[in-house]
């Protein structure tokens, strides 16, 4: 018997509103339609009404989880238009912030995935650990969600004692290795709930143009930190984890390995942080006419900013944001076709969707 079963826009499995209409034959999903737009805030249009200082604060609010990534990408684009180059220390601080944000994003996602698996211990363990990551972010920036770290030509705050932060990061890494990584990789509960479900084939991943851990779990080895290095990534050693199964477990696995790689990057960045200036100083931002495109590897994948400016204008002429979830979400349709209805909340969550980013 055929049914149409709507999930959302308000549903316990969804962190934010969106709608997934599933067409089922019995318990099996035969097709699905996705509807977004419930969080549309017109941020791209608003950006055209803000000056080059205000627009940074505005774009930090595109996303509540990867807020730092949005200002980093925007500032990189504006630096191309102004010719202002951040000093080396600022580039390292940007890496530290980006990797801490990746840690807290991946741990938060793992907690939510744990909740959807019915694995409440994993949920609570992850959220307790995420608090500690946010403590480190607070020590550096004074903030726990919107860090206000990036500005044109550098960062707003120095990491005055990198070795103290390094000690905190090493403590975090020990706890990750002791608790979360074994749950991610060897737990029978996680394996039995995640293996073989929500498969996105390598061919479909390429065809849909998916990005980030969703792509890497389907055997697409793309990571902008390696392919088009920004900030100080070219000077740091790390590997890009890739899995080929394309199922929910592969996405879990890729994120677990990325947590370890983030800790490795953080250790290097904090230990090698060069001395010197971290801010662009009093140099005035003078924009030239043109378009600059900047990309960053956010926790969920590639974020793209296309920023257009007209000379002598204080406001951008156009800011276009392409978020990773915008590119990944259409692939959910292919992941849920053939799946059991009961698995669909976990499958849709496995891309770590962010609907606020998507709708802007």
């Amino acid at each position: 018997m055929s049914y149409k079963i709507p999930m959302g826009p308000y549903h316990p499995a969804l962190e934010e509103p969106y709608k997934l209409d599933m067409f089922c034959e019995g318990e099996t999903v035969s097709d699905a339609k996705l509807h977004i737009g419930f969080n549309f805030r017109g941020i791209e249009h608003l950006a055209e009404t803000r000056n080059y200082i205000q627009v940074i604060a505005l774009m930090e609010r595109v996303c509540g989880i990867c807020s730092n990534i949005h200002t980093l990408t925007l500032c990189q684009a504006m630096e191309q238009l102004t010719g202002l180059t951040p000093p080396p220390r600022a580039l390292y601080i940007r890496v530290v912030m980006a990797e801490l944000e990746r840690l807290h994003s991946h741990v938060l996602w793992a907690g939510i995935a744990g909740k959807l698996m019915g694995f409440k211990t994993m949920f609570m363990t992850c959220f307790a650990l995420r608090e500690k990551v946010m403590d480190v972010l607070q020590v550096i920036s004074g903030n726990r969600v919107n860090y206000s770290m990036n500005c044109i030509g550098g960062v707003n705050r120095d990491i005055s004692d990198p070795l103290a932060v390094l000690t905190m990061v090493e403590q975090l890494e020990r706890e990750m290795v002791r608790t979360i990584i074994p749950i991610f990789t060897t737990s029978t509960t996680a394996r039995s709930r995640c293996a073989g479900i929500g498969v996105l084939t390598h061919e479909k991943a390429i065809s849909c143009g998916v990005v980030g851990p969703t792509a890497r779990a389907s055997g697409v080895a793309q990571d902008l930190r390696r392919a088009a290095p920004y900030a100080a990534y070219a000077e740091l050693e790390f590997t890009v984890p890739v899995e080929t199964a394309g199922d929910v477990r592969a996405r879990l696995f890729v994120r677990a390995l990325e947590i370890m790689e983030s800790c490795r990057i953080l250790r290097q960045a904090l230990a090698k942080m060069p001395p010197g200036e971290w801010h662009g100083g009093d140099r005035k931002a003078v924009f030239s006419t043109g378009t600059a495109v900047s990309r960053v590897e956010a926790p969920r994948g590639e974020v793209v900013y296309s920023v257009s400016w007209k000379e002598n204008s204080r406001n951008p002429a156009r800011v276009h944001v392409r978020t990773p979830t915008f590119q990944n979400m259409p692939a959910i349709r292919w992941m849920v076709i053939g799946a059991r209805l009961a698995d669909t909340p976990l499958i849709q969550a496995s891309i770590d969707p962010c609907y606020s980013c998507t709708d802007r």
Binding site: G209, A292, F326, D359
Partner: protein
């Protein structure tokens, strides 16, 4: 021949690549957007996005962006009318961005159907971003 140069040859254009703002740009005079999509498939480039920019005089510029081995490639198309051929059947990854540009700017991508993305107030596309309709 490097892959980026081979794109020029496959498109049969005399234009040259220029680099600015982190993108290798190729002007598209005489190039059809569907021809471009077919060539990008051939060289296995990854579609990134379309940026729509409303021109002050009238019309739009659509900047199609692809990634090839970590290099961003940009192809600007100026639309005198508010329509352009869709490349959805050639490149599945453009689905949502074509829908978003349609809803935000009322640009029609010809040859495809739209599911609404609900990014608009009311029942007319373009009310959010298209200056004439604001």
């Amino acid at each position: 021949m490097n892959p980026i140069e081979s794109i020029r040859e496959k498109l049969g254009t005399a234009e040259v690549w220029t680099e600015s703002g982190g993108v290798h740009w190729l002007a598209t005079s005489g190039v059809n957007v569907r021809q471009l999509a077919a060539v990008m498939n051939e060289v296995q480039a990854r579609f990134v996005t379309i940026t729509a920019i409303e021109l002050p005089e009238r019309g739009f510029r659509l900047e199609y962006l692809w990634d090839l081995g970590g290099q961003m490639l940009g192809f600007p198309f100026v639309l005198s009318a508010n329509s352009v051929e869709s490349i959805y059947d050639l490149c599945e990854a453009v689905d949502w961005i074509e829908r978003e540009v349609h809803e935000g700017f009322a640009v029609d991508f010809l040859g495809r159907d739209y599911e609404p993305l609900l990014l608009r107030a009311g029942d007319k596309p373009g009310v959010n971003l298209h200056e004439e309709l604001l």
